[in-house]
């Protein structure tokens, strides 16, 4: 069993290992400064207690269709880098089993199927890697 932060992205369910989660807060769209010329997934940068934090639309990264604008921000960390992931909302923090279901996405560590619901487990280092690679 490991601890995950469960989130909603569009209509889909995802989970992030708690070790990669720094904090969770409201998105505050007014505080996000768009950076003209940046890749489309990047919504901009915002000031997080003096730190300039890039904000990435997780739905765009995962190619999840989205009906409403994102409302929450999850600050994730890996390998010394931080990014704010714009999500729909946080569902809760929970102990869950290992992601036993395989899936093809390079951005997911796998999936968990329980109570008839499918939850994708996000591989934060890979997501960060993907954002970096295509950027340059």
């Amino acid at each position: 069993m490991s601890t995950y932060v469960r989130i909603r992205v569009g209509a889909e369910r995802y989970a992030i290992p708690v070790g990669h989660v720094v904090e969770v807060c409201d998105l505050d769209p007014a505080g996000i400064v768009p950076v003209p010329g940046a890749r489309p997934e990047v919504l901009g940068v915002r000031n997080l207690r003096g730190l300039v934090l890039p904000v990435v639309d997780l739905a765009a990264v995962l190619r999840v269709p989205r009906a409403a604008p994102p409302g929450g921000l999850l600050v994730a960390e890996s390998g010394g880098a931080r990014a704010g992931l714009a999500i729909d909302r946080v569902v809760g923090v929970e102990e869950m089993g290992e992601p036993s279901e395989r899936c093809d996405s390079p951005l997911l560590a796998g999936a968990i199927l329980s109570d008839g619901q499918l939850t994708g487990v996000i591989d934060v280092p890979r997501v960060f890697g993907a954002l970096e690679a295509e950027g340059s």
Binding site: P17, G19, H20, V22, E23, V33, P34, V35, P36, G37, A38, R39, V42, V45, R46, N47, R49, G50, L51, V52, P54, V56, E77, S78, G79, G80, A81, A83, P125, F128, L131, E132, E134, G135, S136
Partner: protein, 684 residues
Amino acid sequence: MSEAAPDLSQIFRDEAAERLDAMDRALLACESGQPGGEVVEELFRHAHTIKGTAGLVGRDDVSSFAHEVEDVLDGIRQRGEFPREVASLLLDAVSALRALVTGSAAPSAELRRRLGEAAGQVRGAPRGASPAAEQPGGPGGAGAAGGAAAAGAAGGPGAAASRVLRVPAAKIDHLLDVVAEVVQFRHRLAHSAESGIGADSPLADDLRAGERMLDELRDTAVAMRMLPVATITGPLPRAVRDMARQAGKEAELVMAGTGTEMDRVVLESLSEPIAHLLRNAVTHGIETPEERQRAGKPRRGRVELRAAPRGSSAEIVVADDGRGVAPEVIQEAGRSGSLVDLLTRPGYSTAGEVTGASGRGVGLNAVRAQVNALGGSMEIRSWPGRGTEVALLLPLALSLLEVLLFERSGAVYGVPQASVQEVVAIREPMHLQGRPMLAVHGHPVPLADIADLLGVRAPRLQENAPALVIRSGDRRVAVSCDVLAGQQEVAVKPLGRFLGGTTGYLGSAVLGDGRIALLLEPKTLATGIGRAPGPRADAPADLPRAEPPPAAGAEAAAPRERPAILVVEDSFTVRELQRSILESAGYPVATARDGQDALEVLRRDPRVGLVVTDVEMPVLDGLSMLRAIRADPDRASLPVVVVTAHASDEERRQGVEAGADAYLAKGSFDQQALLAIVARLLGR
């Protein structure tokens, strides 16, 4: 005002602090049992010099307490033996002396009593043929006098090393400002001369030589901000010893590479993080002496602080030979990322209970945030049972940049001040191949809206919108925006890896009000304008047109009627900004770079009908100048607008008392507000 006389008591405090640090180091060495005769001499000299200097600056309290300390040391000196318990008593005395010097506390009666006792004790038991035999002399008397001669000859701490001049940081900052201004001024000079002289005339040669020297001057000035790491490590060995004691442990701090130089600003913000890492090393790392003995380690734990330059960065390592983190922790770290990620997680702590020193689990998180904010990075390595090492990699110099800020459609942008040649109000743009051009000092310069250059949507620009004439290499462009937002020195923060592929940015900066400014690369702006898409179909309508006839008519008649405005401001860019705003509104403008200069101008130039002034300026500040104006019967009713960086209530009160007619906040500096106030005060 406070600059007028060199502050002797401040100098005394600084110097005493240095000597007290040196005494701490020497006493720590004594405590660990290796006091050479010269160590005692050194201690004596420091105590003696503090006593003497304190007397000079009128700190008799310090002087008399230092005398008591000196008395004990003198006894030890003569006896030739240093009892260990006296070393620890003297460490307490040094702490008390430090508190007394800073004025935070007076030494306790108990401490004074113990010092007196110790003095009696070391004097009372001379052993055999001690040095005292050669120099008899009653208690205190001749011995102290002999010491005075020795101290006089020895000079201050580090007298043998290179000579060092103590200069207040503010003066160096001011020097840097002036140098930056001179560099700018030269740019302008070169520009105006360019058209008049050929590139190979002797005058052009001279100008180039001047440029080289100016560059050198600037580099030298910038290097003055660099300080050795030792400037912040003085009190640390003592602090480590005290922390260990409190925890029932033994630990010594070994330092290396403290001569490594770093930017003063970076260093200042490192004190706290380093102190925390040391605290962690002592509380979590170092074991109790018994535990260490069982593990086959020396009883006394060893904590290291190492600094070393690494290219354009400096590495600072805090290492301990303690127990390291538990093997489970290393495993968990392997699963969830890295050890830094795990240990810096907010709330992560293995301390069983919260004590004064540790246990809340926020310490490392704060250290990391601070290091990140400085543009650095952090790594942690740990070997269970053997110790832990925390490495900080920091920029040698903080990249501080003087930028000119401007806004367009709600977003804030900045460009390096050095690249901005001037600021103009757009009037009557011309067109070439459908592209708008602006005449600047008789030469056409391509003009573009910053929104178009960046490809963002924005409402159309107002008439008379300001444009920044930006220079990069031999290209010049005029970039128009909604409003100028002032000039500021900012710490450049990289946009980060995820924006690595985005070109055209120098980075970003967090402004005083929390907003983020994107810092634009002058080169991209200058070349981008060439490849910018042709003007949109509606572009000509988008651009400000010539003034409507009534305004133009007023303008033609105005210059002779309108009173001149005197702009008093020490920053070149802000001054030029205000000048261009006021001039484009049709006012003749005179400028002055400080209050003194302004009073001169007022004496010479009777046309001045209004003054716009900054508050903080060298030589004579704005409020003092204002008082001088109010005191002059001829000028007493001259309207004065005060532009201030932070209009606190107290400042306003002072300003009103001095006779200010209006206030304008510099942070939100906007030209419409300035023009409105000026118009109102001039009764138009």
